[in-house]
């Protein structure tokens, strides 16, 4: 860990966003994770994404469970709300917080241990309920915080630093999310910010549960030869299906792509996702085909990344529950407790 605080001085030409903030205003405390940890790169990508989206930090809530990955919300968005829950319980807390205050932007950060082992049930229900949140699993294939035991996402045949081979079948969280009915599913790599930052932005803008399985090498316990989650291995086997360009409101459309390779997705708030299709026959709207593609490439030893699936018309939990537009937390006594006459009326409809 680093003991010196990050200097306040910054590049004099650091760009400001529409709120007049610089990227530095979206930072948190200096990371105490091992130097070189993929998780820190993801934090940096989150910082950039929120800065570029011009989101006011105090309207953001970051939630996490337990693990090195779950520690990271301390290292970004220092001015946002935060809740560090118990192991594997981030989704429940996020669901509750979201129910109470639908106006905040929720970002849940979890690990492969946190979400694929102890919290697997919680993960499943956040996906199927379509809680409006960004759900990032910082997937290193090990329990980093407890010193490197295989997690449930470790691939069969992967070797631990001590030379033990994993024999148990691995959980592909992206595939699982598709099965569970998630409305936005992506996979990325901590070492590829060009891909990751737009994915996080799109996930924030998406209405409903937006899941990103982000492979994130653990430099201390899972970055050796024989690991399938190391920097080298992921770089060699990364197969992106698309490259994303997120266009919000007044943003100019800048990237130039060859005609015919572009697919445009309009989000509920009018933002546009421009997808440069790298795998020509891949469709981001076809859940079944997405699942097949992931599994097919997995069999060939490749890791499919990019925006894998986005539901045509997602409904989030509030829409499904038909809650009022005002956050429940902002309702006054009068609205919450309309009196005995109203109760009578309600009871009458149930008799």
């Amino acid at each position: 860990m680093t003991f010196v605080a990050k200097p306040k001085l910054s590049h004099p030409e650091l760009p400001r966003n529409r709120l007049g903030l610089t990227r530095r205003d979206y930072e948190g405390a200096v990371s105490t994770l091992c130097a070189g940890c993929g998780h820190d790169s993801i934090s940096a990508a989150i910082i950039r994404a929120f800065f570029e989206l011009d989101l006011p930090p105090h309207r953001i809530a970051k939630l996490s469970g337990i693990g090195c990955s779950s520690k990271t919300p301390t290292y970004f968005l220092g001015r946002a709300h935060g809740f560090n829950s118990v192991h594997g319980r981030m989704p429940a807390v996020a669901t509750g917080a979201n129910l109470a205050n639908r106006d905040l932007v929720y970002i849940g950060v979890s690990g492969d241990g946190d979400s694929a082992s102890i919290g697997l049930g919680q993960f499943a229900h956040a996906m199927r309920r379509d809680v409006n949140m960004v759900y990032i699993v910082e997937n290193n294939g090990v329990y980093g915080l407890t010193k490197g035991q295989f997690s449930a996402t470790a691939d069969v045949g992967a070797r631990s630093k001590r030379g033990v081979t994993n024999t148990e079948s691995s959980i592909d969280l992206a595939a699982l999310a598709l099965v569970l009915g998630a409305s936005f599913v992506a996979r990325s790599f901590s070492g590829d910010k060009a891909q990751l930052v737009p994915l996080i932005k799109a996930a924030v803008l998406h209405k409903g549960a937006a899941f990103i399985d982000c492979i994130s090498p653990c430099v201390a316990f899972n970055n050796h030869a024989g690991s399938t989650k190391s920097y080298d291995y992921v770089r060699e086997h990364n197969e992106a299906v698309d490259a994303l360009d997120v266009i919000v409101g007044r943003d100019e459309i800048s990237a130039d792509y060859a005609p015919g390779t572009i697919e445009t997705v309009v989000l509920h708030d009018g933002s546009i996702l421009r997808l440069n299709k790298l795998a020509p026959d891949y469709s981001v709207h076809d859940r079944v085909a997405a699942l097949a593609h992931i599994q097919d490439r997995e069999r060939a030893g490749e890791i499919v990344t990019g925006l894998l699936y986005v539901g045509p018309e997602s409904k989030d939990m509030h829409e499904n529950l038909n809650t009022v537009a005002t956050p429940l937390a902002s309702l006054g006594d009068a609205e919450l407790c309309p009196g005995s006459a109203a109760l009578e009326e309600l009871n009458a409809t149930l008799r």
Binding site: V4, P7, S10, H11, S31, D40, S41, A44, G191, K193
Partner: protein, 595 residues
Amino acid sequence: MLPTDIRNPDYFHKVVDCQWACPAHTPVPEYIRLIASRRYGDAYMLNWQSNVFPGILGRTCDRPCEPACRRGRVEKEPVAICRLKRVAADYKGDIRHRLPRAPVRGNGKRVALVGAGPASLTVARDLAPEGYDLVLFDSAPAAGGMIRSQIPKFRLPEEVIDEEVGYILDLGMETRFGTPITSMNALLAENYDAIFVGCGAPRGRDLDLPGRHVAPGQIHLGIDWLASVAFGHVREIGRRVIVLGGGNTAMDCCRSARRLGGQDVTVVVRSGFAEMKASPWEKEEAMEEGIPILNFLVPKEFRHGGGTLQGVLFEKVAAERGADGRRRLVPTGEPDLMMPCDDVLIAVGQENAFPWIERDSGIDFDRWDMPVVNERTMQSTHPKVFFGGDAAFGAKNIIWAVAHGHEAAISIDRLCRGEDVAERPPPLVNLVSQKMGIHEWSYDNEISNDLRYRVPHREHELALADITAEVELGFDEKLGLAEAERCFNCDVQTVFTGRLCIECDACTDICPTDCITFTGNGEETDLRRRLTAPAHDVTQALYVSGNLKTGRVMVKDENLCLHCGLCAERCPTGAWDMQRFLLEMPLASHACCNL
């Protein structure tokens, strides 16, 4: 771009902006660290080795290092490098036992030094410990040159001059003060092995306007008047004084006049305020002493009445850009301005004069009547005669005189040893890792957020009452320490080893000033556009690695690096290391002091 060759001493030297900008290349961050650890004597000796006059320069240097200081690029003001030098001088204690001495047996070579200003004194300092038999001439009664004769005592007390000039004279040399050299040919005939000319630019430029010679007692040439003040021949001036000129001499004239009875002292300058030659801090201090500076007024005539000076007539002008793009001053057509006064001080520049050098002495002069001098070796067209300081290329300042002196001393030493003068010895370079543990560095890498500290001043009234009362009181130890902490340690270099890098981005993510980018290689202009943060300043280098595993390169823009070491702390593989780069300029004598 090709991978950066960090073995070229110039590469990291340039990153230490202050040291690079200093004509004598003083290792600034090294002495600032010594101050921070309260090793004032060591800090002083390091300075003494490079710039010979730390106490004097710590009060008077033109400080080209400060505009260059990196700190000034990320916040409002640079580190007070110059005034920290004074801290070293003020708190050093007795260092005399650390000074070199001339060897008992000389080397048999005789060198004459003409003029005892900072240039000649530097040559003497560098050559005396090598056993040279030196003869130091000056027409003035004491050594110091313009340091003694021009710079007012309220900026530079006499004791400081005596002390630091004394350190040099005590090395052992023959002094012949009160002895003007009147003929170069005669001097050459004395068969010295080498002659160094450090006679300065001794003549003040005059203003030949109508009425100039009517009342000579009331119109003075600035530098002559300042010398008379310095030597105590002049002790008063009229109540109303006009100072003509906008350079540092004008500032010294007006502030001196203010202390000798001038109550209504005005500086009048032809050009605009921003174009004035005086340093910003000199202008500030003059104005703080209640001296107005009037701009865009061109003197036309000295007005008299009954044989006494009545005032100066000025034409009002404005700056205009001509068709050739050059700025020039054109009359505004408004009525002329008559400013009444009792005395005028003319401070409109200095001229070189070499009436004592016969033009057949073998020393060529150019069409401006300046000696032809090699900028690197300081040698004239006469192989045995060298020039330095203001005498070489016109009026500059003390630190340039010192830098010239060092180079001339090397040349003289090489000449006397029968070596090629054109060949120059390389600097001493040392690059050492500062890593002590996982998060421990042998330098203080925490970045201070403090703004520049002001040097405490003597109260106005007291300062104006006595021309010898020093205005600046200097930093006390506490302020000095706090100011020292503002230095980034730019000499602790970020050294990159590409084969260790796993391209994890940790360094890019942590860098507070967005210096580091991993990207595809390209031409410099193209690369500069593709970096994490804009890198327009092409005078600041890009540090480029060879190809990394992914085929990309690491590019670091040196411009705004805080040398905080966070990249090295966050690097999992030690691909970044913080290494202290110490560069010491070659000197004629390296046995020169006990560091």
